[in-house]
């Protein structure tokens, strides 16, 4: 599905990503663990076309999509719920969702049915359909960010720190819905600091440190790994 090969991203003389390689297979949830500043968001932003890489390649189903503009990547099937959410705060929840389906705007029927699916996944969004996105609580905004990304009907969903700043109960709810989304056939790449919650739903994972992948493995391997436990789970 997605293959990232030796990706390098430079800010001035500093390499935020220094040769990252990873892959997401069809139907998988893959988690990317790492501390603040390890390069998770930079990787996500580069995959979505917001940063131009200095080297390496990004392949979507075998096709080289490195340096594609952001809007083409969304149309090709990669949608992201970014860190910080980047919702349209003064626009209603319903319009935020409709804007999420911007690349499918001619498919009126399809957009309506995806919107119903999103409302089924997050019923609170239906209740708040007419409210401005900026008035929602943190958890609701996260749900809207995920819902907006789903509106593009992506084959690969990128979720950057969906648990950030949420209460534990809400985190559980969000992760349960991520699992549901995945069961619907969408592959998911998830960046998290909350390794405990993320590893519960993920099939595989990577640990990223200082711009490179330092460790990778299946869920069980990572759960059992001493370093992962010490650094990201805290038990």
């Amino acid at each position: 599905m997605l293959e990232v090969r030796d990706l390098r991203v430079r800010f001035g003389t500093f390499y935020a990503l220094d040769g990252v390689s990873l892959s997401v297979k069809e139907g998988e949830i893959v988690v990317l663990l790492g501390a603040n500043g390890a390069g998770k968001s930079t990787l996500f932003r580069t995959i979505s076309g917001l940063h131009a890489p200095a080297g390496g390649a990004i392949l979507l189903e075998g096709q080289d999509v490195t340096r594609w503009p952001a809007h083409r990547l969304v149309a090709a099937g990669i949608a992201q719920a970014p860190e910080g959410k980047h919702l349209f705060p003064e626009v209603s929840v319903g319009k935020n969702l409709r804007l999420g389906a911007y690349v499918r705007r001619r498919d009126v029927e399809g957009v309506r049915s995806t919107m119903d699916e999103v409302f089924q996944l997050f019923p609170v969004l239906r209740e708040k359909e007419r409210d401005a996105a900026g008035t929602l609580s943190g958890g609701q905004q996260q749900m809207l960010a995920i819902g907006r990304a789903l509106m593009a009907k992506p084959r690969l969903l990128l979720l950057d720190e969906p648990s950030l700043g949420l209460a534990p109960l809400v985190v559980e709810e969000v992760f349960a819905s991520i699992q549901k989304i995945n069961e619907g056939g969408t592959s998911v790449l998830l960046a998290e600091q909350n390794a405990h919650a993320a590893l519960k739903v993920a099939h595989r994972g990577y640990v990223i440190e200082e711009g490179t992948v330092s460790l990778s493995g299946g869920r069980g391997e990572l759960m059992g790994n001493e370093e992962v436990r010490r650094a990201y789970i805290g038990i």
């Binding site: 979505s48 076309g49 917001l50 503009p69 952001a70 809007h71 990547l73 969304v74 149309a75 949608a79 992201q80 970014p82 959410k85 980047h86 919702l87 349209f88 705060p89 003064e90 626009v91 319009k95 409709r98 804007l99 999420g100 911007y102 690349v103 705007r105 900026g134 907006r148 990304a149 509106m151 593009a152």
Partner: protein, 286 residues
């Protein structure tokens, strides 16, 4: 009382033009963060298009207005394509200097083509309507009606169409807009073209009421900036309310205080707003 009503009507007509100019300015600023000083030149160019259409070509006024809308809409788009597209991500100072450069270029062009003289434009609608002791020229009625229709049209475009929603999306969160797949370059081009159309409508409505000359945009653009700051940078309702407020204040001050005072009022208001409410009177609440 009659004098007051008369001046109120005149103020509303002037305010309609101010609001249209300010709308184009606030739209481009709100969406693309470009302080477009060259916007006044679009307004001036539109007046010249109408002047040429009415005098040299002797076209009907409607055709003259349509020609101005098309020509200046294209000119606005060209401004984005040729200049501002290449300044994406640069500082506001870069944008401002580029905008001033475009302003001087267009003013210079008008000066070369038509010369520095003040040129009268024929008045196609020269009738006068009287009601309640107030006389209002048909041209002023047209200004008010056409401006309000344009504002309703703009509002409908922004709020009710997906194209308008993509413009709003870009204004509110650029990164969010990119991530939902909006082609931000296309939206930028479109926004500049729309601002050109707004300037064209304002310029072609005012042309028969004033004298046309290369620097006519400079005064108006300064006032439009005052209005945009007054109403809150990027705020559409702020630009409309601010436009009418400033024009009515100017007309009233000119009538009841002293004529010379009317030109001062915009800048007095600007200073007051900047001191007491620097984010503008109608800033969107966040």
């Amino acid at each position: 009382m009659t004098l007051f009503l008369q001046q109120l009507v005149n103020g509303v007509a002037l305010g309609s033009v101010y609001a249209l100019v300010a709308l184009g300015l606030t739209l481009v600023y709100g969406v693309l963060k470009v302080p477009n000083f060259a916007h006044g030149a679009l307004y001036m160019m539109a007046a010249y298009v109408v002047y040429v259409a009415l005098t040299a070509v002797e076209a009907p006024y409607v055709v003259a207005i349509a020609a101005a809308i098309v020509a200046i809409g294209v000119l606005g788009g060209a401004m984005e394509l040729v200049v501002f597209r290449h300044l994406e991500g640069k500082t506001p100072v870069h944008m401002m200097i580029a905008a001033l450069g475009v302003l001087f270029f267009l003013e210079g062009t008008a000066d070369v083509v038509w010369g520095p003289d003040f040129r009268p434009v024929p008045t196609p609608l020269d009738g006068v309507v009287s009601a309640f002791g107030v006389n209002i020229t048909e041209q002023r009625i047209l200004v008010i009606v056409a401006a309000v229709a344009t504002m309703v049209g703009l509002y409908t475009l922004l709020k009710r169409t997906l194209v308008g929603m993509s413009i709003e999306a870009l204004a509110q969160d650029r990164e969010g807009a990119l991530l939902v797949g909006i082609d931000t370059k296309r939206v930028a081009l479109l926004t500049f073209a729309i601002s050109g159309v707004l300037a064209a409508i304002a310029g072609s409505l005012i042309a028969p009421l004033v004298l046309v000359f290369p620097l006519m945009g400079a005064v108006v653009i300064l006032k439009a900036f005052v209005i945009v700051i007054l109403g809150g940078m990027g705020s559409v309702p702020g630009a409309i309310i601010g436009g009418y407020l400033l024009a009515i204040a100017e007309t009233m001050a000119g009538t009841y205080v002293a004529f010379a005072f009317s030109e001062l009022i915009a800048f007095a208001l600007l200073v007051l707003v900047l001191v007491f409410r620097p984010t503008g009177l109608f800033t969107k609440g966040t």
